[in-house]
């Protein structure tokens, strides 16, 4: 493959095939928000620190701000738009509401995606949840309630 300034990228986003061309230096986050129009994935720090941009790539949680879109060509991406619906919340979303696990809600899409993947990783105790969620910051400080919501679904 010769070097290109613009790349064509195919992604399966929330089960739907999407194809588009984008500048070679666009991140997955930029593509999701600006090309696909899915703005549920948030751009917080844009430097890999806050976790607001967390999505799943083939079921594994990643920071989409540090993912070069071209490098993810052909992969399956899950964003918050693919998790639950307004009428039929995912059980983790319902647990977040029950446990009051948010205030402003800006970090919540990333927290939910990160929490979903963490549940698949089967955390053994509350400490493993706290450690496992350290890549998602919450400026409102809802951490104890976020941990409680995930713990409920983990059966802890």
């Amino acid at each position: 493959m010769s070097p290109e300034s613009s790349v064509s990228v195919s992604l399966k986003i929330n089960g739907r095939d999407c194809e588009f061309s984008a500048p070679a230096c666009d991140t997955l986050l930029d593509v999701l928000r600006d090309q696909v129009g899915m703005t549920g994935t948030k751009k917080g720090c844009d430097m890999g620190a806050c976790g607001a941009c967390t999505v799943l790539a083939d079921g594994r949680r990643i920071k989409s701000c540090l993912a070069l879109a071209a490098s993810y060509d052909g992969r399956s991406i899950t964003t918050i738009e693919g998790v639950g619906t307004t009428d039929n919340l995912h059980q983790l979303q319902a647990a977040f509401i029950r446990h009051d696990a948010l205030q402003c809600g800006y970090c919540t899409p990333g927290q939910i995606l990160s929490g979903l993947a963490l549940l698949d990783e089967k955390p053994g105790d509350l400490e493993a949840i706290r450690e496992g969620m350290s890549g998602n910051l919450c400026r409102c400080g809802a951490y104890p309630n976020i941990v409680a919501a995930i713990a409920e679904l983990a059966g802890l």
Partner: protein, 329 residues
């Protein structure tokens, strides 16, 4: 926030990668977690990136006690692999202490070893840094030096290396395998990194276009019962080490037969504490021997204005690590 645009290509085999990377201004992209941060902060401005993430270099083989790892294996896959958790708990705990869950899913072993320093002067546009902009001076030397090195620094650069994995691998006498214009070569991890001296812009002895293809860890079964990675940091998770210590002991009949100690967060590279190791051999792992090893660890420390606390911290971290694995005499 982003840097100047670059071209993209994806390598389909190693030779292809080498050819694509032969153009000046080209950078390799694997997990991207460090490269994109550096690019966004303006610390690097590649004109092209060569995506090596799909090269078949993500293997993990454990054979006759020796562990062979592909450089493109992801941190999370290696850190949770039963062959690693069972036979190399030091590697598993160093990986679990690294970054966050999301980053560990993306970051590769090779990229982790080659990550650039977290020094704030290097990562912040407009500040003096010889690594970022050769000749501009070292801002940390007379400025905010809390993170700075105790060992191996120069008047040009006092930055520390942030890889936890490298500290563990250095203690295990791991070797790296690299591929480049000269073909394949293999050498000890400790020879990968270079001290800053007058040219801190170069972190390693790799030649242009050379890339790490694998990591080889020799048999460490004699240490399995006594190994630990102690990481002291400013918050409990997702934070580089202020000071870290990888410690391995082989004890027979109450005497230390072999000791391995490497410190992180205190030098431009994983800092092997050879004098501390030597003072332990032949002795029981008792309080006196452990205290002597702690004292030896800091003997040649050269703190700056704000990192003097690291001297006591390193000494105590060595003692704590040895107490953890030494057991009661």
């Amino acid at each position: 926030m982003s840097g100047p645009s670059f071209q993209y290509s994806r390598a389909t085999n190693l030779r292809d990668a080498l050819i694509l990377a032969s153009q000046p201004g080209t950078a390799f992209l694997a997990g991207g977690t460090d490269l994109l941060q550096l690019w966004k902060s303006g610390a690097i401005a590649p004109t092209a990136v060569v995506d090596i993430s799909r090269l078949p270099l993500d293997h993990l083989e454990f054979l006759d006690g020796q562990l062979s790892l592909g450089s493109l294996a992801r941190l999370s896959d290696v850190g949770s692999h039963p062959d690693v958790t069972r036979n190399h708990p030091l590697i598993a705990s160093a990986i679990l202490a690294s970054a966050s869950g999301q980053i560990r899913n993306m970051a590769t072993l090779g990229g982790n070893l080659l990550q650039r320093t977290r020094c704030a002067y290097f990562r912040t546009e407009g500040l003096a840094c010889n690594k970022r902009n050769p000749g501009s001076g070292c801002g940390a030397l007379a400025g905010e030096s809390r993170q700075a090195a105790l060992f191996g620094a120069s008047a040009s650069c006092v930055a520390t290396h942030a890889s936890d994995l490298a500290v563990a691998l250095a203690a295990l006498d791991a070797e790296v395998e690299v591929f480049g214009g000269e073909g394949l070569r293999r050498f000890p991890l400790r020879d990968l990194y270079r001290l800053p001296a007058e040219t801190p812009e170069r972190d390693t002895h790799l030649t242009a276009g050379e890339l790490i293809t694998g990591i080889h860890v020799p048999n460490a079964s004699r240490f399995v019962a006594r190994s630990t990675y102690l990481k002291v940091r400013d918050r409990a998770s997702f934070e580089p080490a202020v000071v870290s210590v990888a410690a391995l002991l082989h004890v027979e009949n109450g005497r230390i037969v072999e000791a391995r100690l490497t410190a992180g967060g205190v030098a431009p590279l994983p800092w092997r504490l050879t004098r501390s190791e030597a003072v332990l051999v032949g002795r029981a792992p008792d309080a006196q021997a452990i205290a002597a090893a702690g004292d030896m660890a800091v003997e040649h420390a050269r703190p700056l204005a704000h990192n003097g606390f690291k001297v006591a911290l390193l000494r105590n971290a060595v003692i704590r690590a040895l107490q953890t694995i030494g057991g009661q005499p």
